[in-house]
Symmetry: C3
Protein backbone atom coordinates (compact mmCIF):
# COMPACT_ATOMS: atom_id res chain seq x y z
CA UNK A 1 0.00 0.00 0.00
CA UNK A 2 1.10 3.47 -0.95
CA UNK A 3 0.76 6.91 0.60
CA UNK A 4 -1.34 9.25 -1.56
CA UNK A 5 0.79 11.61 -3.64
CA UNK A 6 1.08 15.06 -2.08
CA UNK A 7 -0.91 17.85 -3.70
CA UNK A 8 1.08 20.68 -5.27
CA UNK A 9 -1.30 23.20 -3.66
CA UNK A 10 -3.12 22.63 -0.39
CA UNK A 11 -6.81 23.57 -0.75
CA UNK A 12 -7.81 26.71 1.16
CA UNK A 13 -10.47 26.54 3.85
CA UNK A 14 -12.71 28.74 1.68
CA UNK A 15 -12.44 26.32 -1.25
CA UNK A 16 -13.16 23.34 0.98
CA UNK A 17 -16.36 24.93 2.29
CA UNK A 18 -17.52 26.03 -1.13
CA UNK A 19 -16.99 22.49 -2.38
CA UNK A 20 -18.91 20.96 0.53
CA UNK A 21 -21.85 23.36 0.21
CA UNK A 22 -21.90 23.13 -3.59
CA UNK A 23 -21.91 19.33 -3.40
CA UNK A 24 -24.84 19.36 -1.01
CA UNK A 25 -26.85 21.81 -3.14
CA UNK A 26 -26.20 19.98 -6.41
CA UNK A 27 -26.95 16.67 -4.74
CA UNK A 28 -30.34 18.06 -3.72
CA UNK A 29 -31.16 18.85 -7.36
CA UNK A 30 -30.20 15.33 -8.45
CA UNK A 31 -32.09 13.70 -5.61
CA UNK A 32 -35.20 15.81 -6.18
CA UNK A 33 -35.23 14.97 -9.86
CA UNK A 34 -34.78 11.28 -9.02
CA UNK A 35 -37.77 11.36 -6.67
CA UNK A 36 -39.85 12.97 -9.43
CA UNK A 37 -38.79 10.16 -11.77
CA UNK A 38 -40.12 7.69 -9.14
CA UNK A 39 -36.70 6.16 -8.52
CA UNK A 40 -36.28 4.13 -5.33
CA UNK A 41 -33.98 5.11 -2.44
CA UNK A 42 -30.87 3.66 -4.10
CA UNK A 43 -31.55 5.38 -7.43
CA UNK A 44 -32.05 8.64 -5.53
CA UNK A 45 -28.73 8.24 -3.74
CA UNK A 46 -26.85 7.35 -6.94
CA UNK A 47 -28.24 10.26 -8.93
CA UNK A 48 -27.68 12.67 -6.04
CA UNK A 49 -24.08 11.57 -5.60
CA UNK A 50 -23.29 11.50 -9.33
CA UNK A 51 -24.57 14.99 -9.77
CA UNK A 52 -23.03 16.31 -6.54
CA UNK A 53 -19.55 14.98 -7.23
CA UNK A 54 -19.17 15.08 -11.05
CA UNK A 55 -18.26 18.74 -11.46
CA UNK A 56 -15.51 18.73 -8.84
CA UNK A 57 -14.05 15.39 -9.95
CA UNK A 58 -13.87 16.61 -13.55
CA UNK A 59 -12.21 19.85 -12.42
CA UNK A 60 -9.58 17.99 -10.42
CA UNK A 61 -8.85 15.55 -13.28
CA UNK A 62 -8.39 18.46 -15.69
CA UNK A 63 -5.98 20.45 -13.51
CA UNK A 64 -4.08 17.30 -12.52
CA UNK A 65 -5.06 17.25 -8.83
CA UNK A 66 -5.26 13.45 -8.78
CA UNK A 67 -6.74 11.58 -6.95
CA UNK A 68 -9.51 14.21 -6.84
CA UNK A 69 -10.49 15.78 -3.53
CA UNK A 70 -13.57 13.55 -3.47
CA UNK A 71 -11.28 10.55 -2.96
CA UNK A 72 -8.98 12.27 -0.45
CA UNK A 73 -11.40 13.84 1.99
CA UNK A 74 -14.31 11.81 3.34
CA UNK A 75 -16.34 14.93 4.06
CA UNK A 76 -17.04 15.17 0.31
CA UNK A 77 -18.76 11.80 0.37
CA UNK A 78 -20.72 12.54 3.51
CA UNK A 79 -21.98 15.80 2.04
CA UNK A 80 -23.08 14.06 -1.17
CA UNK A 81 -24.70 11.20 0.73
CA UNK A 82 -26.50 13.61 3.05
CA UNK A 83 -27.93 15.50 0.08
CA UNK A 84 -29.45 12.29 -1.28
CA UNK A 85 -30.95 11.34 2.08
CA UNK A 86 -32.39 14.82 2.58
CA UNK A 87 -33.84 14.87 -0.93
CA UNK A 88 -35.44 11.47 -0.31
CA UNK A 89 -37.14 12.36 2.97
CA UNK A 90 -37.67 16.10 2.53
CA UNK A 91 -38.61 16.38 -1.13
CA UNK A 92 -42.12 17.27 0.05
CA UNK A 93 -40.73 20.47 1.57
CA UNK A 94 -38.21 21.07 -1.22
CA UNK A 95 -41.02 20.97 -3.76
CA UNK A 96 -42.69 23.91 -2.00
CA UNK A 97 -40.01 26.12 -3.49
CA UNK A 98 -41.21 27.37 -6.82
CA UNK A 99 -39.21 25.36 -9.38
CA UNK A 100 -36.82 23.91 -6.79
CA UNK A 101 -34.47 22.12 -9.19
CA UNK A 102 -33.91 25.34 -11.12
CA UNK A 103 -33.32 27.51 -8.05
CA UNK A 104 -30.97 25.06 -6.31
CA UNK A 105 -29.19 24.38 -9.58
CA UNK A 106 -28.59 28.13 -10.05
CA UNK A 107 -27.00 28.35 -6.61
CA UNK A 108 -24.84 25.26 -7.17
CA UNK A 109 -23.81 26.62 -10.56
CA UNK A 110 -22.50 29.82 -8.97
CA UNK A 111 -20.71 28.07 -6.12
CA UNK A 112 -18.98 25.52 -8.32
CA UNK A 113 -18.03 28.09 -10.96
CA UNK A 114 -16.29 30.16 -8.27
CA UNK A 115 -14.62 27.10 -6.71
CA UNK A 116 -13.48 25.91 -10.15
CA UNK A 117 -12.04 29.29 -11.04
CA UNK A 118 -10.18 29.71 -7.75
CA UNK A 119 -8.66 26.25 -7.90
CA UNK A 120 -7.68 26.70 -11.56
CA UNK A 121 -5.90 29.99 -10.78
CA UNK A 122 -4.16 28.38 -7.80
CA UNK A 123 -2.87 25.64 -10.12
CA UNK A 124 -1.34 28.20 -12.46
CA UNK A 125 -3.87 28.34 -15.28
CA UNK A 126 -4.11 31.59 -17.24
CA UNK A 127 -7.34 33.64 -16.91
CA UNK A 128 -9.04 32.40 -20.08
CA UNK A 129 -8.49 28.66 -19.41
CA UNK A 130 -9.44 29.28 -15.78
CA UNK A 131 -12.75 30.76 -16.95
CA UNK A 132 -13.38 27.72 -19.17
CA UNK A 133 -12.61 25.43 -16.27
CA UNK A 134 -14.98 27.43 -14.08
CA UNK A 135 -17.78 26.92 -16.58
CA UNK A 136 -17.04 23.19 -16.88
CA UNK A 137 -17.01 22.78 -13.10
CA UNK A 138 -20.24 24.73 -12.76
CA UNK A 139 -22.18 22.90 -15.45
CA UNK A 140 -20.62 19.43 -15.00
CA UNK A 141 -22.96 18.10 -12.35
CA UNK A 142 -26.07 19.32 -14.12
CA UNK A 143 -24.99 17.85 -17.46
CA UNK A 144 -24.35 14.44 -15.88
CA UNK A 145 -27.71 14.61 -14.10
CA UNK A 146 -29.68 15.48 -17.22
CA UNK A 147 -27.88 12.99 -19.48
CA UNK A 148 -28.48 10.18 -16.97
CA UNK A 149 -32.24 10.78 -17.02
CA UNK A 150 -32.15 11.15 -20.84
CA UNK A 151 -32.93 14.87 -21.01
CA UNK A 152 -31.13 17.44 -23.14
CA UNK A 153 -28.94 19.26 -20.55
CA UNK A 154 -30.32 22.61 -19.50
CA UNK A 155 -27.02 24.31 -20.38
CA UNK A 156 -28.06 23.77 -24.01
CA UNK A 157 -31.75 24.55 -23.65
CA UNK A 158 -31.73 27.63 -21.49
CA UNK A 159 -30.64 31.09 -22.44
CA UNK A 160 -28.60 32.39 -19.54
CA UNK A 161 -26.82 29.44 -18.01
CA UNK A 162 -23.18 29.04 -19.05
CA UNK A 163 -23.12 32.85 -19.15
CA UNK A 164 -23.97 33.01 -15.45
CA UNK A 165 -21.02 30.73 -14.67
CA UNK A 166 -18.83 32.88 -16.88
CA UNK A 167 -19.88 36.04 -15.03
CA UNK A 168 -18.85 34.43 -11.74
CA UNK A 169 -15.48 33.50 -13.25
CA UNK A 170 -14.88 37.03 -14.52
CA UNK A 171 -15.53 38.47 -11.06
CA UNK A 172 -13.13 35.98 -9.43
CA UNK A 173 -10.42 36.69 -12.00
CA UNK A 174 -10.84 40.46 -11.66
CA UNK A 175 -10.68 40.13 -7.86
CA UNK A 176 -7.51 38.08 -8.10
CA UNK A 177 -5.89 40.65 -10.43
CA UNK A 178 -6.80 43.47 -8.04
CA UNK A 179 -5.56 41.45 -5.03
CA UNK A 180 -8.89 41.75 -3.27
CA UNK A 181 -9.56 39.34 -0.37
CA UNK A 182 -10.88 35.95 -1.52
CA UNK A 183 -13.97 35.47 0.62
CA UNK A 184 -15.94 38.64 -0.22
CA UNK A 185 -15.04 38.33 -3.90
CA UNK A 186 -16.27 34.73 -3.88
CA UNK A 187 -19.52 35.74 -2.19
CA UNK A 188 -20.09 38.51 -4.71
CA UNK A 189 -19.36 36.19 -7.63
CA UNK A 190 -21.74 33.47 -6.39
CA UNK A 191 -24.44 36.07 -5.78
CA UNK A 192 -23.97 37.61 -9.23
CA UNK A 193 -24.26 34.25 -11.03
CA UNK A 194 -27.26 33.22 -8.93
CA UNK A 195 -29.13 36.47 -9.41
CA UNK A 196 -28.38 36.69 -13.14
CA UNK A 197 -29.63 33.14 -13.64
CA UNK A 198 -32.81 33.60 -11.60
CA UNK A 199 -33.71 36.97 -13.09
CA UNK A 200 -33.21 35.59 -16.59
CA UNK A 201 -35.65 32.76 -15.84
CA UNK A 202 -38.21 34.94 -14.06
CA UNK A 203 -38.13 37.68 -16.68
CA UNK A 204 -38.04 35.07 -19.41
CA UNK A 205 -35.03 36.67 -21.09
CA UNK A 206 -34.21 35.10 -24.38
CA UNK A 207 -31.02 35.15 -26.40
CA UNK A 208 -31.05 35.51 -30.17
CA UNK A 209 -31.44 32.47 -32.38
CA UNK A 210 -29.48 32.19 -35.62
CA UNK A 211 -30.77 34.33 -38.51
CA UNK A 212 -32.61 32.29 -41.20
CA UNK A 213 -32.62 29.19 -39.00
CA UNK B 1 9.53 9.18 -28.31
CA UNK B 2 9.31 8.69 -24.60
CA UNK B 3 9.28 5.67 -22.28
CA UNK B 4 5.95 5.29 -20.46
CA UNK B 5 6.09 6.63 -16.90
CA UNK B 6 6.60 3.87 -14.32
CA UNK B 7 3.56 2.92 -12.25
CA UNK B 8 3.81 3.56 -8.51
CA UNK B 9 2.35 0.08 -7.85
CA UNK B 10 2.78 -2.90 -10.15
CA UNK B 11 -0.57 -4.62 -10.72
CA UNK B 12 -0.88 -8.03 -9.08
CA UNK B 13 -1.52 -11.15 -11.15
CA UNK B 14 -4.93 -11.50 -9.50
CA UNK B 15 -5.91 -7.96 -10.49
CA UNK B 16 -4.74 -8.51 -14.07
CA UNK B 17 -6.88 -11.61 -14.43
CA UNK B 18 -9.92 -10.04 -12.86
CA UNK B 19 -9.55 -7.13 -15.25
CA UNK B 20 -9.24 -9.39 -18.29
CA UNK B 21 -12.22 -11.55 -17.33
CA UNK B 22 -14.33 -8.55 -16.32
CA UNK B 23 -13.55 -6.84 -19.63
CA UNK B 24 -14.62 -9.89 -21.58
CA UNK B 25 -17.86 -10.30 -19.61
CA UNK B 26 -18.82 -6.64 -19.84
CA UNK B 27 -17.92 -6.60 -23.53
CA UNK B 28 -20.36 -9.48 -24.05
CA UNK B 29 -23.18 -7.41 -22.52
CA UNK B 30 -22.39 -4.46 -24.78
CA UNK B 31 -22.05 -6.63 -27.87
CA UNK B 32 -25.27 -8.53 -27.14
CA UNK B 33 -27.19 -5.28 -26.67
CA UNK B 34 -25.70 -3.95 -29.91
CA UNK B 35 -26.85 -7.04 -31.83
CA UNK B 36 -30.35 -6.56 -30.41
CA UNK B 37 -30.30 -2.95 -31.61
CA UNK B 38 -29.49 -4.32 -35.11
CA UNK B 39 -26.09 -2.62 -35.25
CA UNK B 40 -23.61 -3.90 -37.84
CA UNK B 41 -20.33 -5.63 -37.00
CA UNK B 42 -18.47 -2.35 -36.44
CA UNK B 43 -21.17 -0.94 -34.18
CA UNK B 44 -21.09 -4.19 -32.20
CA UNK B 45 -17.32 -3.98 -31.77
CA UNK B 46 -17.42 -0.31 -30.75
CA UNK B 47 -20.16 -0.79 -28.16
CA UNK B 48 -18.53 -3.96 -26.82
CA UNK B 49 -15.16 -2.23 -26.44
CA UNK B 50 -16.59 0.98 -24.96
CA UNK B 51 -18.49 -0.92 -22.37
CA UNK B 52 -15.66 -3.40 -21.67
CA UNK B 53 -13.00 -0.76 -21.15
CA UNK B 54 -14.85 2.26 -19.69
CA UNK B 55 -14.97 1.17 -16.05
CA UNK B 56 -11.28 0.31 -15.78
CA UNK B 57 -10.13 3.40 -17.67
CA UNK B 58 -12.19 5.64 -15.40
CA UNK B 59 -10.80 3.87 -12.32
CA UNK B 60 -7.21 4.35 -13.48
CA UNK B 61 -7.78 8.03 -14.33
CA UNK B 62 -9.27 8.64 -10.89
CA UNK B 63 -6.45 7.00 -8.91
CA UNK B 64 -3.80 8.57 -11.14
CA UNK B 65 -2.52 5.37 -12.80
CA UNK B 66 -1.97 7.11 -16.14
CA UNK B 67 -1.83 6.01 -18.92
CA UNK B 68 -4.49 3.49 -17.83
CA UNK B 69 -3.71 -0.24 -17.95
CA UNK B 70 -5.79 -0.47 -21.14
CA UNK B 71 -3.11 1.55 -22.93
CA UNK B 72 -0.15 -0.26 -21.35
CA UNK B 73 -1.02 -3.91 -21.78
CA UNK B 74 -2.30 -5.17 -25.13
CA UNK B 75 -4.13 -8.09 -23.54
CA UNK B 76 -6.79 -5.63 -22.40
CA UNK B 77 -7.55 -4.73 -26.00
CA UNK B 78 -7.56 -8.32 -27.19
CA UNK B 79 -9.97 -9.30 -24.43
CA UNK B 80 -12.33 -6.45 -25.34
CA UNK B 81 -12.09 -7.18 -29.04
CA UNK B 82 -12.69 -10.87 -28.49
CA UNK B 83 -15.83 -10.13 -26.49
CA UNK B 84 -17.26 -8.16 -29.41
CA UNK B 85 -16.45 -10.88 -31.92
CA UNK B 86 -17.96 -13.57 -29.70
CA UNK B 87 -21.09 -11.51 -29.10
CA UNK B 88 -21.45 -10.99 -32.84
CA UNK B 89 -21.17 -14.64 -33.84
CA UNK B 90 -22.51 -16.36 -30.73
CA UNK B 91 -25.36 -14.07 -29.68
CA UNK B 92 -27.74 -16.88 -30.71
CA UNK B 93 -26.32 -19.03 -27.92
CA UNK B 94 -25.92 -16.13 -25.48
CA UNK B 95 -29.60 -15.31 -25.89
CA UNK B 96 -30.51 -18.79 -24.63
CA UNK B 97 -29.54 -17.61 -21.17
CA UNK B 98 -32.59 -16.17 -19.51
CA UNK B 99 -32.01 -12.38 -19.59
CA UNK B 100 -28.36 -12.68 -20.71
CA UNK B 101 -27.47 -8.97 -20.48
CA UNK B 102 -28.68 -8.83 -16.89
CA UNK B 103 -26.86 -12.01 -15.80
CA UNK B 104 -23.55 -11.17 -17.48
CA UNK B 105 -23.80 -7.59 -16.28
CA UNK B 106 -24.25 -8.82 -12.69
CA UNK B 107 -21.08 -10.90 -12.97
CA UNK B 108 -19.08 -8.06 -14.55
CA UNK B 109 -20.37 -5.69 -11.88
CA UNK B 110 -19.00 -7.93 -9.13
CA UNK B 111 -15.64 -8.52 -10.81
CA UNK B 112 -15.01 -4.86 -11.57
CA UNK B 113 -16.17 -3.70 -8.14
CA UNK B 114 -13.63 -6.05 -6.53
CA UNK B 115 -10.86 -5.07 -8.95
CA UNK B 116 -11.63 -1.38 -8.41
CA UNK B 117 -11.55 -1.74 -4.64
CA UNK B 118 -8.29 -3.69 -4.59
CA UNK B 119 -6.54 -1.24 -6.87
CA UNK B 120 -7.85 1.76 -4.90
CA UNK B 121 -6.56 0.28 -1.64
CA UNK B 122 -3.20 -0.49 -3.27
CA UNK B 123 -2.95 3.16 -4.33
CA UNK B 124 -3.47 4.32 -0.78
CA UNK B 125 -7.12 5.38 -0.76
CA UNK B 126 -8.98 5.18 2.55
CA UNK B 127 -11.77 2.59 2.87
CA UNK B 128 -14.70 4.91 2.16
CA UNK B 129 -13.21 6.46 -1.02
CA UNK B 130 -12.08 2.97 -2.07
CA UNK B 131 -15.68 1.78 -1.77
CA UNK B 132 -16.89 4.70 -3.90
CA UNK B 133 -14.24 3.92 -6.50
CA UNK B 134 -15.31 0.27 -6.46
CA UNK B 135 -18.88 1.27 -7.21
CA UNK B 136 -17.78 3.64 -10.00
CA UNK B 137 -15.57 0.95 -11.56
CA UNK B 138 -18.36 -1.60 -11.34
CA UNK B 139 -21.10 0.53 -12.80
CA UNK B 140 -18.98 2.56 -15.28
CA UNK B 141 -19.16 0.19 -18.23
CA UNK B 142 -22.89 -0.34 -17.87
CA UNK B 143 -23.60 3.39 -17.62
CA UNK B 144 -21.60 4.10 -20.77
CA UNK B 145 -23.39 1.25 -22.58
CA UNK B 146 -26.86 2.41 -21.61
CA UNK B 147 -26.22 6.12 -22.28
CA UNK B 148 -24.81 5.31 -25.74
CA UNK B 149 -28.00 3.49 -26.74
CA UNK B 150 -30.12 6.28 -25.13
CA UNK B 151 -31.51 4.26 -22.24
CA UNK B 152 -31.69 5.37 -18.62
CA UNK B 153 -28.79 3.42 -17.00
CA UNK B 154 -29.91 0.40 -15.04
CA UNK B 155 -28.02 1.62 -11.98
CA UNK B 156 -30.79 4.24 -11.69
CA UNK B 157 -33.73 2.04 -12.63
CA UNK B 158 -33.07 -1.13 -10.70
CA UNK B 159 -33.34 -1.63 -7.00
CA UNK B 160 -30.28 -3.65 -5.98
CA UNK B 161 -27.45 -2.62 -8.27
CA UNK B 162 -25.01 -0.11 -6.80
CA UNK B 163 -25.69 -1.87 -3.50
CA UNK B 164 -24.36 -5.16 -4.90
CA UNK B 165 -21.12 -3.41 -5.90
CA UNK B 166 -20.96 -1.84 -2.45
CA UNK B 167 -21.35 -5.25 -0.80
CA UNK B 168 -18.39 -6.56 -2.80
CA UNK B 169 -16.33 -3.55 -1.74
CA UNK B 170 -17.18 -4.03 1.93
CA UNK B 171 -16.04 -7.66 1.78
CA UNK B 172 -12.74 -6.69 0.11
CA UNK B 173 -12.11 -3.93 2.64
CA UNK B 174 -12.92 -6.22 5.57
CA UNK B 175 -10.63 -8.90 4.13
CA UNK B 176 -7.82 -6.39 3.77
CA UNK B 177 -8.27 -5.17 7.37
CA UNK B 178 -8.18 -8.77 8.64
CA UNK B 179 -5.13 -9.57 6.46
CA UNK B 180 -6.92 -12.46 4.79
CA UNK B 181 -5.42 -13.77 1.52
CA UNK B 182 -6.52 -11.79 -1.56
CA UNK B 183 -7.76 -14.49 -3.91
CA UNK B 184 -10.39 -16.22 -1.73
CA UNK B 185 -11.66 -12.87 -0.46
CA UNK B 186 -11.99 -11.65 -4.05
CA UNK B 187 -13.87 -14.79 -5.04
CA UNK B 188 -16.23 -14.45 -2.09
CA UNK B 189 -16.85 -10.77 -2.83
CA UNK B 190 -17.59 -11.38 -6.52
CA UNK B 191 -19.93 -14.23 -5.61
CA UNK B 192 -21.73 -12.16 -2.99
CA UNK B 193 -22.36 -9.26 -5.38
CA UNK B 194 -23.46 -11.60 -8.18
CA UNK B 195 -25.82 -13.62 -6.00
CA UNK B 196 -27.31 -10.55 -4.30
CA UNK B 197 -27.97 -8.95 -7.67
CA UNK B 198 -29.52 -12.06 -9.25
CA UNK B 199 -31.66 -12.93 -6.25
CA UNK B 200 -32.95 -9.38 -6.09
CA UNK B 201 -34.01 -9.58 -9.73
CA UNK B 202 -35.51 -13.05 -9.49
CA UNK B 203 -37.38 -12.36 -6.26
CA UNK B 204 -38.34 -8.95 -7.55
CA UNK B 205 -37.12 -7.19 -4.43
CA UNK B 206 -37.99 -3.57 -4.35
CA UNK B 207 -36.53 -0.73 -2.36
CA UNK B 208 -38.72 1.96 -0.85
CA UNK B 209 -39.72 4.98 -2.87
CA UNK B 210 -39.88 8.41 -1.28
CA UNK B 211 -42.88 9.06 0.95
CA UNK B 212 -45.52 11.36 -0.65
CA UNK B 213 -43.77 11.12 -4.02
CA UNK C 1 0.00 30.35 -7.41
CA UNK C 2 1.92 27.65 -9.15
CA UNK C 3 3.70 27.34 -12.48
CA UNK C 4 2.10 24.72 -14.75
CA UNK C 5 3.96 21.40 -14.71
CA UNK C 6 6.28 21.00 -17.69
CA UNK C 7 5.15 18.61 -20.42
CA UNK C 8 7.30 15.52 -20.99
CA UNK C 9 7.08 16.10 -24.76
CA UNK C 10 6.70 19.50 -26.39
CA UNK C 11 3.94 19.39 -29.04
CA UNK C 12 5.19 19.67 -32.61
CA UNK C 13 4.08 22.51 -34.85
CA UNK C 14 2.28 20.00 -37.07
CA UNK C 15 0.32 18.61 -34.13
CA UNK C 16 -0.60 22.10 -32.96
CA UNK C 17 -2.01 23.01 -36.36
CA UNK C 18 -3.90 19.76 -36.77
CA UNK C 19 -5.43 20.32 -33.36
CA UNK C 20 -6.45 23.89 -34.18
CA UNK C 21 -7.98 22.97 -37.54
CA UNK C 22 -9.66 19.84 -36.17
CA UNK C 23 -11.16 21.87 -33.33
CA UNK C 24 -12.57 24.42 -35.74
CA UNK C 25 -14.05 21.76 -38.04
CA UNK C 26 -15.60 19.73 -35.23
CA UNK C 27 -16.93 22.90 -33.65
CA UNK C 28 -18.69 23.71 -36.92
CA UNK C 29 -20.50 20.37 -36.81
CA UNK C 30 -21.63 20.97 -33.24
CA UNK C 31 -22.69 24.55 -33.96
CA UNK C 32 -24.57 23.56 -37.11
CA UNK C 33 -26.45 20.83 -35.29
CA UNK C 34 -27.27 23.28 -32.49
CA UNK C 35 -28.72 25.78 -34.98
CA UNK C 36 -30.85 22.99 -36.44
CA UNK C 37 -32.13 22.17 -32.96
CA UNK C 38 -33.16 25.87 -32.66
CA UNK C 39 -30.77 26.55 -29.78
CA UNK C 40 -29.98 30.19 -29.03
CA UNK C 41 -26.53 31.78 -29.45
CA UNK C 42 -25.29 30.51 -26.08
CA UNK C 43 -26.48 26.97 -26.70
CA UNK C 44 -24.74 27.07 -30.09
CA UNK C 45 -21.47 28.21 -28.51
CA UNK C 46 -21.64 25.59 -25.75
CA UNK C 47 -22.35 22.69 -28.10
CA UNK C 48 -19.71 23.89 -30.59
CA UNK C 49 -17.07 24.17 -27.87
CA UNK C 50 -17.97 20.87 -26.18
CA UNK C 51 -17.75 19.02 -29.42
CA UNK C 52 -14.61 20.86 -30.61
CA UNK C 53 -12.63 20.29 -27.44
CA UNK C 54 -13.85 16.92 -26.08
CA UNK C 55 -11.73 14.61 -28.23
CA UNK C 56 -8.44 16.37 -27.54
CA UNK C 57 -9.10 16.80 -23.82
CA UNK C 58 -9.92 13.10 -23.49
CA UNK C 59 -6.76 12.20 -25.43
CA UNK C 60 -4.57 14.35 -23.18
CA UNK C 61 -6.15 12.97 -20.00
CA UNK C 62 -5.56 9.40 -21.19
CA UNK C 63 -1.89 9.86 -22.07
CA UNK C 64 -1.25 11.91 -18.94
CA UNK C 65 -0.56 15.27 -20.63
CA UNK C 66 -2.28 17.21 -17.82
CA UNK C 67 -3.51 19.94 -17.81
CA UNK C 68 -4.63 19.23 -21.40
CA UNK C 69 -3.41 21.46 -24.22
CA UNK C 70 -6.83 23.15 -24.24
CA UNK C 71 -6.00 24.66 -20.84
CA UNK C 72 -2.40 25.55 -21.69
CA UNK C 73 -2.70 27.30 -25.04
CA UNK C 74 -5.37 29.96 -25.53
CA UNK C 75 -5.45 29.40 -29.28
CA UNK C 76 -7.41 26.21 -28.63
CA UNK C 77 -10.18 28.21 -27.02
CA UNK C 78 -10.21 30.88 -29.69
CA UNK C 79 -10.48 28.25 -32.42
CA UNK C 80 -13.40 26.56 -30.65
CA UNK C 81 -15.13 29.87 -29.98
CA UNK C 82 -14.67 30.99 -33.56
CA UNK C 83 -16.24 27.78 -34.85
CA UNK C 84 -19.37 28.46 -32.80
CA UNK C 85 -19.62 32.07 -33.98
CA UNK C 86 -19.14 31.05 -37.62
CA UNK C 87 -21.74 28.27 -37.31
CA UNK C 88 -24.20 30.74 -35.81
CA UNK C 89 -23.87 33.41 -38.49
CA UNK C 90 -22.93 31.31 -41.51
CA UNK C 91 -25.07 28.19 -41.05
CA UNK C 92 -27.08 29.37 -44.04
CA UNK C 93 -24.01 28.87 -46.24
CA UNK C 94 -22.82 25.76 -44.40
CA UNK C 95 -26.18 24.11 -45.06
CA UNK C 96 -25.62 24.49 -48.81
CA UNK C 97 -23.12 21.65 -48.55
CA UNK C 98 -24.92 18.41 -49.08
CA UNK C 99 -25.17 16.84 -45.58
CA UNK C 100 -22.77 19.36 -44.01
CA UNK C 101 -22.58 17.77 -40.55
CA UNK C 102 -21.57 14.44 -42.08
CA UNK C 103 -18.93 15.92 -44.41
CA UNK C 104 -17.33 18.18 -41.81
CA UNK C 105 -17.50 15.40 -39.24
CA UNK C 106 -15.64 13.07 -41.62
CA UNK C 107 -12.86 15.62 -42.01
CA UNK C 108 -12.63 16.28 -38.28
CA UNK C 109 -12.59 12.52 -37.65
CA UNK C 110 -9.55 12.09 -39.88
CA UNK C 111 -7.66 15.07 -38.48
CA UNK C 112 -8.23 14.12 -34.85
CA UNK C 113 -7.44 10.45 -35.44
CA UNK C 114 -4.08 11.43 -36.92
CA UNK C 115 -3.36 13.96 -34.16
CA UNK C 116 -4.33 11.40 -31.51
CA UNK C 117 -2.11 8.73 -33.02
CA UNK C 118 0.91 11.02 -33.35
CA UNK C 119 0.64 12.29 -29.81
CA UNK C 120 0.14 8.77 -28.43
CA UNK C 121 3.27 7.52 -30.22
CA UNK C 122 5.24 10.55 -28.99
CA UNK C 123 4.21 9.68 -25.42
CA UNK C 124 5.55 6.17 -25.76
CA UNK C 125 2.41 4.12 -26.37
CA UNK C 126 2.77 0.90 -28.36
CA UNK C 127 1.13 0.77 -31.82
CA UNK C 128 -2.05 -1.04 -30.80
CA UNK C 129 -2.88 1.25 -27.84
CA UNK C 130 -1.93 4.23 -30.03
CA UNK C 131 -4.48 3.10 -32.60
CA UNK C 132 -7.17 2.79 -29.91
CA UNK C 133 -6.32 6.26 -28.66
CA UNK C 134 -6.52 7.57 -32.23
CA UNK C 135 -10.03 6.17 -32.58
CA UNK C 136 -11.10 7.60 -29.20
CA UNK C 137 -9.70 11.04 -30.10
CA UNK C 138 -11.38 10.94 -33.50
CA UNK C 139 -14.82 9.88 -32.32
CA UNK C 140 -14.81 11.67 -28.92
CA UNK C 141 -16.18 15.01 -30.07
CA UNK C 142 -18.93 13.46 -32.15
CA UNK C 143 -20.03 11.14 -29.35
CA UNK C 144 -20.28 14.05 -26.90
CA UNK C 145 -22.22 16.08 -29.46
CA UNK C 146 -24.73 13.32 -30.21
CA UNK C 147 -25.22 12.29 -26.56
CA UNK C 148 -25.85 15.93 -25.57
CA UNK C 149 -28.69 16.25 -28.10
CA UNK C 150 -30.01 12.77 -27.08
CA UNK C 151 -29.17 10.96 -30.32
CA UNK C 152 -27.50 7.57 -30.61
CA UNK C 153 -23.91 8.49 -31.62
CA UNK C 154 -23.18 8.00 -35.31
CA UNK C 155 -20.16 5.84 -34.47
CA UNK C 156 -22.70 3.19 -33.46
CA UNK C 157 -25.23 3.75 -36.21
CA UNK C 158 -23.06 4.10 -39.28
CA UNK C 159 -21.12 1.40 -41.02
CA UNK C 160 -17.73 2.89 -41.83
CA UNK C 161 -16.89 5.31 -39.07
CA UNK C 162 -14.53 3.98 -36.41
CA UNK C 163 -12.94 2.03 -39.25
CA UNK C 164 -12.04 5.26 -41.05
CA UNK C 165 -10.29 6.52 -37.91
CA UNK C 166 -8.51 3.18 -37.63
CA UNK C 167 -7.30 3.42 -41.23
CA UNK C 168 -5.78 6.83 -40.49
CA UNK C 169 -4.05 5.40 -37.42
CA UNK C 170 -2.61 2.48 -39.38
CA UNK C 171 -1.12 4.84 -41.96
CA UNK C 172 0.45 7.03 -39.25
CA UNK C 173 1.89 4.01 -37.45
CA UNK C 174 3.28 2.53 -40.68
CA UNK C 175 4.82 5.91 -41.58
CA UNK C 176 6.44 6.14 -38.17
CA UNK C 177 7.87 2.62 -38.48
CA UNK C 178 9.29 3.44 -41.91
CA UNK C 179 10.68 6.77 -40.65
CA UNK C 180 8.80 8.71 -43.30
CA UNK C 181 8.46 12.48 -42.77
CA UNK C 182 5.50 13.40 -40.55
CA UNK C 183 3.65 16.01 -42.59
CA UNK C 184 3.03 14.08 -45.83
CA UNK C 185 2.11 10.95 -43.91
CA UNK C 186 -0.35 12.95 -41.85
CA UNK C 187 -1.89 14.47 -44.96
CA UNK C 188 -2.23 11.05 -46.59
CA UNK C 189 -3.79 9.57 -43.47
CA UNK C 190 -6.35 12.38 -43.09
CA UNK C 191 -7.23 12.11 -46.77
CA UNK C 192 -7.60 8.32 -46.58
CA UNK C 193 -9.96 8.47 -43.60
CA UNK C 194 -12.00 11.31 -45.13
CA UNK C 195 -12.35 9.63 -48.52
CA UNK C 196 -13.17 6.21 -47.06
CA UNK C 197 -15.86 7.72 -44.87
CA UNK C 198 -17.43 9.81 -47.66
CA UNK C 199 -17.37 7.05 -50.23
CA UNK C 200 -18.95 4.64 -47.77
CA UNK C 201 -21.81 7.09 -47.20
CA UNK C 202 -22.29 7.99 -50.86
CA UNK C 203 -22.16 4.39 -52.07
CA UNK C 204 -24.25 3.34 -49.11
CA UNK C 205 -21.84 0.59 -48.14
CA UNK C 206 -23.13 -1.60 -45.42
CA UNK C 207 -21.32 -3.91 -43.07
CA UNK C 208 -22.74 -7.30 -42.14
CA UNK C 209 -25.23 -7.64 -39.32
CA UNK C 210 -25.07 -10.59 -36.95
CA UNK C 211 -26.39 -13.86 -38.37
CA UNK C 212 -29.83 -14.88 -37.00
CA UNK C 213 -30.23 -11.48 -35.34
Amino acid sequence: MLPLPALPVEPSVLLLWMDLVGIFIFGLTGGTLAVRHKLDIFGVLVLAMACALAGGVLRDLLIGAVPPATFRDERYLWSALASGVVAFFAHHWIERLSRPVMVLDALGLGIFAVAGCQKALAYGLAPLPAALLAVITGIGGGVVRDVLVSEVPRVLREEIYAVAALLAAIIVIAGSRLDLPDAPVAAAAVAAAFVLRLVSVWRNWSAPRAPWS
